[in-house]
Symmetry: C2
Subunit: 217 residues, 2 copies
Amino acid sequence: MSWVEKFPGLSRLDPDLRRRLDRDGKVLKVPEGKVIFGPGSTADNLLLLISGTVRVQHLSDSGRQIVLYRINAGESCVMTTACLMAHDAYSAEGITESEIEAVAIPRATFDDLVARSPDFRSFVFEAYSRRIADLFLVIEEVAFQRIDIRLAQKLLDLAGQGDLVRATHQQLAGELGTAREVVSRQLQEFRRRDWITLSRGEIALSNVAAIRALAEA
Amino acid sequence: MSWVEKFPGLSRLDPDLRRRLDRDGKVLKVPEGKVIFGPGSTADNLLLLISGTVRVQHLSDSGRQIVLYRINAGESCVMTTACLMAHDAYSAEGITESEIEAVAIPRATFDDLVARSPDFRSFVFEAYSRRIADLFLVIEEVAFQRIDIRLAQKLLDLAGQGDLVRATHQQLAGELGTAREVVSRQLQEFRRRDWITLSRGEIALSNVAAIRALAEA
DNA sequence: CGCGGTCTGTGACCTTGTCACCAAAGTCTG
DNA sequence: CAGACTTTGGTGACAAGGTCACAGACCGCG
């Protein structure tokens, strides 16, 4: 089975074009914790993520950090391609959060497919619009949302189905674009209310309902 | 002379395609202060701005506001097209800051040109990348930059070549995504240092060098 | 002129970010 | 295992920024 099947947006492509993708795309594996693009590295390929996740974040001069969005399996990395194309001072970087499998599509193939396939065009433009919506959300949150609410949302997000979050306070601060001390203090406050229990490197959610109520306030 | 000449990115298009643009694109004028797209209005055309500027901003539930970017003459409005395509909860709006002249390109024509012209593709993707870079910048500023520095930058920006800014404190707050009181207080501080003089609805910059020094700190 | 709306100034208070420093928990090494 | 070092977390003091409440200044208009 070809990797093309893994991408819902590509499944309706013409068989001809799917073979083209299959032929020109190079599958590669990257271990966890690698910077796959960032300032200085000109991305010449479109990356499609088969498995794993990539965290896209921004580092400020002052050493603070904020997570902009994540690329999940089945998604693509269009932003970086386009962004590096025209603009130099682009200081976001993508880091693998687990081992990933990805396909690199050469620029020429990408361009050709955009020209020939309406479905591929939809795929690309939808990928863009999702990312842009993510960025709008980040702006809204950073500019207008209280930090306790954002932290509650992030804890629920990172806990997923379970009720355990494996992350240091520093990492949570990086997710939210704030300082470590702020996260520590908010977590203390949550603990004081018996919503969570804290231990080194992990946070157990003991009252998910209360956390959710705050997150949705 | 056709409006197509006004767009540097389109000037190298094949004569055939330029005629196509000329024929299908509808030129329209919109007066100042109109909402040309926003929540609820599905943009079915690609807008190209011949003259004037459009301010794209985001309104929060709490009534605060932030300016995301501006569309200037010769630029296009790709983001909104793509964004509305896939995502509903998109709460940015575009407002004309002066009377504008624009060309509306129907979706079908847009799609066809993307398919047929590499130059048009570059035009579109470059427009995207510029906007995305703008959004990255906004995030960086909102998350990590001090408000006095951002205000200094904005004053210089709005003053242009001259040394007079026509804007209320409320409008400046909207530009920066902060509260009116914060702007008022910072302006008082600038005045105390004899960098500016204040009067109702306008700010005269009397020490541009000092303001620039702060802006570049 | 008086009146209502808009714009600006300001104090009090709360939240968030910064700085400094310490303590506890892990890790490494001899 | 002891001791040194690193990472993580806790906390107080203070600065910066956001919220609330309210007052006074300015503007256009009848």
